[in-house]
């Protein structure tokens, strides 16, 4: 089989985005912290859009319940490190995006070096302690797109130090909420919130974030999207 050309793979996006925007996306370097439900969706979308570099950070192993909503994993991946299985899966999508991996717990090891060589971070973590730890270890100029999902709802916002409230301020009383708690979550909500996160990551890459000082709340129960102003 002939190797597909980049110009062919991304041709539909190139009809929507300008040449300059496509070039900016191609040069962008994004870290995805937490490669579970949200992280898989964000990673897949960015890969299929021609992102330059993805850094995947997670200390998880693929387990049976992950197959119900984590799009990059298959039955044969059970027992594998998520970051390794995700890298293999993503590499098969376009073979264009460069992918780095770190099998680490962001709470214990914040990977400042890896995070210093990216333009932005997607918070796809599943607990608030880790989210606050991530926020503390990223630099001033990076954007952080936060997403959270539960049942059939979720929320997304962009955090930029000095420009927005900190995540740990918005959620200041939530610390420890998810400890030892198995969270109910519906697969459609994971894909919807993950897709919206990927869209906001691209907005940030292109210098036009839409969720600065605003939180988008998505409620699938009646297909509602609401934006809450954050002061």
């Amino acid at each position: 089989m002939t190797k597909p050309k980049e110009s062919d793979i991304f041709s539909r996006n190139a009809l929507f985005f300008s040449k300059k925007e496509m070039d900016t996306i191609k040069k962008a370097r994004i870290a995805i912290v937490g490669v579970g439900g949200l992280g898989c969706v964000v990673a897949e979308i960015l890969t299929r859009m021609g992102i330059g570099l993805l850094t995947l950070i997670d200390n998880g192993i693929v387990d049976m319940p992950d197959l119900g909503r984590q799009s990059l994993y298959n039955v044969e991946d059970i027992g594998q490190k998520k970051v390794d299985a995700a890298k293999v899966s993503l590499s098969k999508k376009t073979d264009v995006c460069k992918i780095k991996t770190a099998f680490i717990d962001i709470k214990a090891d914040c990977q400042k070096d890896m995070l210093s060589e990216v333009d932005g971070v997607a918070d796809c973590l599943d607990n608030y302690e880790s989210r606050f730890a991530l926020e503390n270890c990223i630099g001033k100029n990076l954007f952080l797109v936060h997403g959270g999902v539960e049942n059939d709802y979720g929320q997304i916002t962009t955090i930029i130090k000095g420009k927005t409230q900190k995540l740990s301020d918005i959620y200041s009383n939530i610390q420890g909420l998810n400890k030892n708690r198995t969270i109910a979550v519906s697969t459609p909500s994971v894909f919807v919130v993950g897709s919206l996160m990927a869209y906001e990551v691209v907005n940030n890459i292109l210098g036009k974030p839409k969720l600065i000082n605003e939180m988008l709340v998505v409620e699938l129960a009646d297909f509602s999207f609401f934006k809450i102003k954050l002061n």
């Binding site: 539960e150 049942n151 708690r181």
Partner: protein, 93 residues
């Protein structure tokens, strides 16, 4: 008038998007919550405040976009025209 907007689980369980409460000039947050509960005729304050009168860690209350933990918590003074958002955020990823 003060508007309380409910999101996610609160909205689904209560079946209402928001409640408007008329106040004189200003009111303490805890008093406002009980007033709103009475007006809505649906219990929700127990999901925000524990038996000892402390804010629970399962939901957030934003007053004009700021978490009340950075204001005066349940003593926060709510003024006419303020807008509140109350919800348990999605925790999973």
């Amino acid at each position: 008038m003060v508007r309380l907007n409910f999101f996610t689980l609160f909205r689904l369980e209560l079946g209402i998007r928001n409640i408007d409460v008329e106040i004189e000039k200003e009111i303490k947050l805890s008093d406002l919550l009980y007033l709103a509960e009475k007006k809505a005729n649906k219990k929700f304050v127990h999901k925000l405040i524990d038996n000892n009168g402390n804010l629970l860690s399962s939901a957030i209350i934003l007053v004009n976009g700021k978490n009340v933990h950075h204001l005066q918590k349940l003593e926060t003074v709510i003024k006419d025209g303020d807008e509140l958002a109350l919800f348990p955020p999605g925790g999973g990823g």
